[in-house]
């Protein structure tokens, strides 16, 4: 007898509860792994909950509009051999586990760790464990982003491999000091970060600027890179949305920032008040604007990408996965075709219905691709 609970997911380190928006399947429906079952909304973003295992949807517990804590029981999946009484028992005995990040007061802090590298204090998150001897996956965010850009990916990939996500220098909650403004500088910094965490070799997943940094590290220190996954990545072609970069750096009010951030998504309605407030809290810190201006000038001089490491990967033997949102308005999806085809196991996926933040908009598909690639 296998009963699979459908639970409130935890998206990102600060999520404590979510609101059920709607069910996407009916009771009795047969469900495949990865099929969207329901839509859930947090104060940051809305997304789909996907089936962890195949089965029949047997019971809906949550109603649209209900608010549940993380890991609370929302519904039950089971095979036809399971009786209704057994499902009733399962529901009656289900206890919502205490969220480990929430166990104590001020616990959000414990979800993060800190390490100092070259006098730069770096915030990072670490999930999963290495019991199967699987190599860790390092997530590197893009320009102006932070580790919460991976809020839909860390736990899903972490169920398979150990995962690490960091805030780059002058990003998120890391120190507001740049570690240089070239890809080589930033790749060197990532190598030192991996040294500090005693990780000799890792799978690298990079988004946008983070993809270019990962590719640079793969060229400069190939022994440390088990595989590369480049998402909406810089470092393939010259073109980049210079208006976005300038607008993001300059915006200091919600009114100015909203249309800029909306360009990151195919579905602009995903840009919530909370998302903008969180970004403004970062952008308004003394020094952020100057640091981003300097970094943009270094990496994207004249509104174009200055360094293109990805095509040079052709000679290397590092497995490559390239993912793009078809409606990417920051770096065009046509750059996916510039990925070197001679690289070992090179795989390219262009996902419709997603923009630059494809790892958020199509989290399920991206997670499936990532897990298969790093597996």
């Amino acid at each position: 007898m296998i009963i699979t609970p459908i639970i409130m997911p935890k998206w990102g380190l600060s999520m404590k509860q979510g609101t059920v928006v709607s069910w996407l399947v009916d009771v009795g429906a047969s469900i495949n792994v990865g099929k969207p079952i329901m839509e859930v909304e947090t104060d940051k973003i809305a997304s789909d909950v996907e089936a962890p295992d195949p089965g029949l949807l047997r019971r809906k517990i949550a109603n649209p509009g209900d608010v549940f804590p993380v890991k609370a029981l929302l519904g039950v999946m089971a095979g036809p051999e399971v009786t209704d009484a057994q499902i009733d028992d399962f529901i009656a005995s289900y206890v919502t586990p205490v969220d480990a990040d929430d166990a104590e007061d001020g616990a959000a802090e414990q979800a993060w760790q800190w390490v100092e590298i070259d006098a730069i204090r770096v915030r990072y998150a670490r999930r999963g464990n290495a019991q199967d001897g699987k190599l860790p996956v390092l997530f590197i965010h893009g320009f102006g982003g932070d580790l919460d850009n991976w809020l839909f990916n860390i736990d899903a990939v972490g169920a398979q491999n150990p995962v690490i996500a960091l805030d780059l220098p002058a990003h998120g909650q890391s120190s507001l000091t740049l570690a240089g403004t070239t890809l080589a500088d930033l790749a060197r910094f990532i190598a030192k970060f991996l040294d500090a965490l005693e990780v000799p070799r890792a799978h690298l997943v990079g988004h946008s600027m983070g993809g270019a940094i990962a590719a640079r590290l793969a060229l400069d220190a190939p022994a440390r890179v088990a595989s590369l996954s480049l998402i909406g990545s810089a470092g393939l072609g010259r073109e980049i949305n210079a208006g976005y970069l300038a607008g993001y750096v300059a915006a200091n009010s919600r009114r100015d920032l909203k249309p800029v951030v909306e360009q990151l998504f195919a579905d602009a309605s995903l840009v919530s008040r909370q998302m903008l407030d969180d970004l403004l809290k970062y952008k308004r810190l003394d020094g952020v604007s100057a640091a981003l201006t300097e970094l943009a000038a270094g990496l994207f001089p004249g509104g174009q990408q200055g360094e293109l490491p990805v095509p040079s990967l052709a000679a290397g033997g590092i497995p490559l996965l390239v993912i793009w949102g078809k409606e990417d308005r920051i770096i065009p999806a046509s750059h996916a075709a510039l990925a070197p085809k001679s690289v070992k196991d090179a795989k390219v996926a262009v996902l419709p219905g997603a923009g630059h933040m494809v790892q958020m908009e199509k989290a399920g598909e991206v997670n499936t691709l990532l897990k298969a690639h790093v597996g």
Binding site: Q173, N252, S253, R254, R273, K281, R284, L285, D286, G287
Partner: protein, 338 residues
């Protein structure tokens, strides 16, 4: 990194970080050091409610305890500002502004204009505002409208620790005179505040809650009362948009108009006396600029047009309550068209 601190600590931290950053920043006020001859923090009160505590030990004579003469030291602060300093003068209770009004509205507010843009007056005058402190009619007023009336003054009144720190730092860096209003009933409330310095522009309202049925436009303590009302109304199926103005002059009318355009209904909540206050101003602007969006009459929730009573029972009745705000929202919904 962010941690939880109170509004009182947020004010202290903003002053501390700006004094560390810019030697032109000085503080003046009654008892802000602790008394003449104070030997450092041990003897230093740090103002009537301890807001500036600890700063004298760090910055010494850059904090000046002044005589009990508001007209003298506010004038001195304005003069110092005109000569290149960035003084932060603490006036204790906004109720005492009367004795130094010429310095504020005829001098500080006019220098830039009268000298053809060649003079700047980067002074901040901090003062406690609001009722609920059992301090009677001369120490309890919400006099924000007296200052929004004057062109050339900026007026700020935050409701959270995060906003307090960012707006005070921005006020100190601003090149015009700013009246910075701190609600005494809010000093103790806590919220997440980054340790690093940051600024919030003096021209942006904050949306503290989103809803589609009615807009509440307010500031200061009334933001918290409105949030209480919103929680009650949500149980009845009524979702309100709450706009915290934060900065009363300049005023972010765009955010107000966007909200009213979305909801079609408006309740203005103001702790200031009802004649010519922030609520009447917002009402007039919305009626002029977004009349076609309105589905119902505009409602206002304010105290009665009386001095703040000393009787605790009467004082509690005087201050607009969450129940009054909720009732006003219901009235717009009943009185309006679908």
């Amino acid at each position: 990194m962010a941690r939880k601190i109170s509004i009182k600590q947020a004010v202290n931290e903003a002053l501390d970080q700006e004094m560390a950053r810019d030697p032109a920043v000085i503080c003046m006020g009654e008892d802000i050091v602790g008394g003449t001859g104070a030997g450092g923090e041990a003897d230093a009160w740090g103002g009537v409610l301890g807001v500036t505590k600890g700063l004298y030990a760090k910055y010494g004579d850059r904090l000046m305890d002044t005589p009990l003469s508001e007209s003298a030291y506010i004038g001195a602060a304005i003069g110092a500002a005109a000569c290149g300093m960035r003084p932060v003068a603490e006036l204790m209770f906004i109720d005492f502004m009367g004795v130094c009004f010429d310095q504020i509205y005829n001098q500080a507010a006019k220098f830039r204009y009268m000298f053809g843009g060649k003079a700047e007056t980067p002074v901040v005058i901090r003062a406690m505002v609001g009722a609920g402190f059992r301090a009677a009619a001369q120490h309890s007023q919400m006099l924000t409208p007296l200052f929004t009336h004057i062109p050339g003054l900026k007026v700020v009144c935050p409701s959270t620790p995060y906003d307090t720190k960012g707006l005070l730092i921005q006020s100190i860096r601003d090149n015009d005179p700013v009246i910075f209003c701190e609600h005494k009933a809010l000093y103790g409330i806590e919220g997440e505040v980054p340790e690093a310095s940051y600024t919030i522009p003096l021209s942006e309202a904050n949306i503290v809650r989103e809803g589609k049925h009615c807009s509440i436009v307010t500031y200061g303590l009334m933001v918290h009362r409105s949030l209480e009302a919103a929680a009650t109304l949500a149980k009845e199926g009524i979702e309100v948009d709450i706009v915290d103005l934060r900065s009363l002059s300049p005023l972010d009318l765009d955010t107000v108009l966007d909200s009213v355009t979305k909801t079609g209904r408006l309740v203005c909540v103001d702790e200031a006396s009802p004649r010519c206050n922030i609520a009447t101003d917002i009402s007039a602007q919305v009626a002029m600029q977004a009349f076609s969006a309105l589905k119902a009459q505009i409602e206002m929730v304010t105290p009665p047009h009386t001095p703040v009573p000393f009787s605790p029972t009467l004082e509690d009745l005087y201050i607009p309550s969450a129940a009054q705000i909720a009732a006003a929202v219901r009235k717009t919904i009943k009185g309006g068209q679908a």
